[in-house]
Symmetry: C2
Subunit: 237 residues, 2 copies
């Protein structure tokens, strides 16, 4: 889990739900947020490691070795890093798509059944734009379509890997991410404004439904978290 | 257009259909193939430029400047570079997804209506795995889902850019690409074999339907080219 817009509220809700440990991986340390999380539920051990999802699989593996050594088991990995800026094509793809693939690839060494691992659960934060794109940000939307497709494949690989997976697809949520962002080639300079004219949800609503999805723990589920609702949607083609 | 499995047969069919010019962009020059294309229809001027889709937008722009200067107009861009090898995560994403985005981004400078350009048409070769993944190659499938989503967004941007777009989604086609390839983390070592147990189509069947799709020239179409058939499919979510 991370400390971004949806990330911080989700971490708060996760801590309330009372796991033994919560490991926060994010690019930038935020000691105030970590202290707050620790105060919410003193029974939960909250730790932080700096992590940039754009590093190589090998580097992620090294970090995971440290974490697994200190925790013994990890039950759930949440891939939640995301950027929304279609001026930055390579970075959007690296963070939103490749980062999720590489982090997942790295944890398989520790979890995969075929390697004697205990299995695990992956929750990937994708987006409703994965199946219903915001066409003014075609690169962002496509990167989310990719993350969603990858997650659906992971779920179908569960019998082989022992690792289950589901996707968390928030609709428009009032986070710093959507407050101001660039469209592809400036095709729509007012894209952020136009987007926020639609009905939205708060990060708290989204986070509470996120925890419900975690508790449901349903391999292959495509969770849509929009307008304060939580719905499992069907994938049709 | 390129000179790969589906690419070469498609180039043959395009030359037969008789455009004024055909520019082939591919990583590796194949003088025999170029000579053959020239011989099929001497009225078509066939030229070749070496091009690797993983270069930057700036480098692609430089190449396009040269091509536009020599041809004056280009009517159709086919983005067809693709690799199938889930051992190579970064390269799969760079070729199948980022390459398509960057080449498209580069040509917009020459085509976009808002910049006084004449518009144009983009045909992106995606794959049926974009909406119906081969889960043993989740990275490949996701990269194709991304290319498809991007293409659908491009089509919706046509009123702003003046550039229309459609996707060409081949099913399993008997090309060198599918003869032997690696699954993600070796989840299924026999993936190529298993895939070829399904009914397939020839590259010629695929190429002939590709040219029909080019002639139909339908903005936003999601063309499925499978088992020797050509069908426009609907995107549902």
């Amino acid at each position: 889990a991370g400390l971004g817009g949806i990330g911080l509220d989700t971490s708060r809700e996760i801590v309330k739900s009372g796991p033994k440990n919560l490991v926060i991986l994010d690019r930038i340390e935020n000691p105030t947020a970590i202290a707050e999380l620790k105060a919410i539920n003193p029974k939960v051990t909250v730790t932080f490691y700096p992590y940039d999802v754009t590093v190589s699989v090998a580097e992620t593996t090294k970090l995971l070795k440290t974490i697994f050594a200190s925790l013994k088991t990890i039950d759930l990995l949440i891939n939640g890093a995301g950027i929304l800026d279609d001026y930055q094509i390579e970075r959007t793809i690296a963070v939103n798509f490749t980062g999720t693939v590489n982090t997942t690839t790295a944890i398989m060494e520790f979890w995969a059944k075929r390697k004697g691992g205990p299995g695990g659960v992956i929750a990937n934060i994708c987006s409703v734009t994965g199946f219903n794109s915001i066409y003014q940000v075609p690169v962002y939307s496509a990167s989310k379509a990719a993350a969603l497709s990858f997650t659906n494949s992971l779920a179908r690989l569960a019998p082989i890997t022992g690792v289950t997976a589901y996707s968390i697809n928030p609709g428009i949520t009032r986070t710093p991410l959507v407050h101001k962002f660039n469209s592809w080639l400036d095709v729509e300079p007012r894209v952020a404004e136009l987007l926020l004219e639609h009905p939205t949800q708060t990060t708290l609503e989204c986070a509470q439904n996120f925890v419900k999805a975690i508790e449901a723990n349903k391999n292959g589920a495509i969770w849509k978290l929009d307008l304060g609702r939580l719905d499992a949607i069907e994938w049709t083609k």
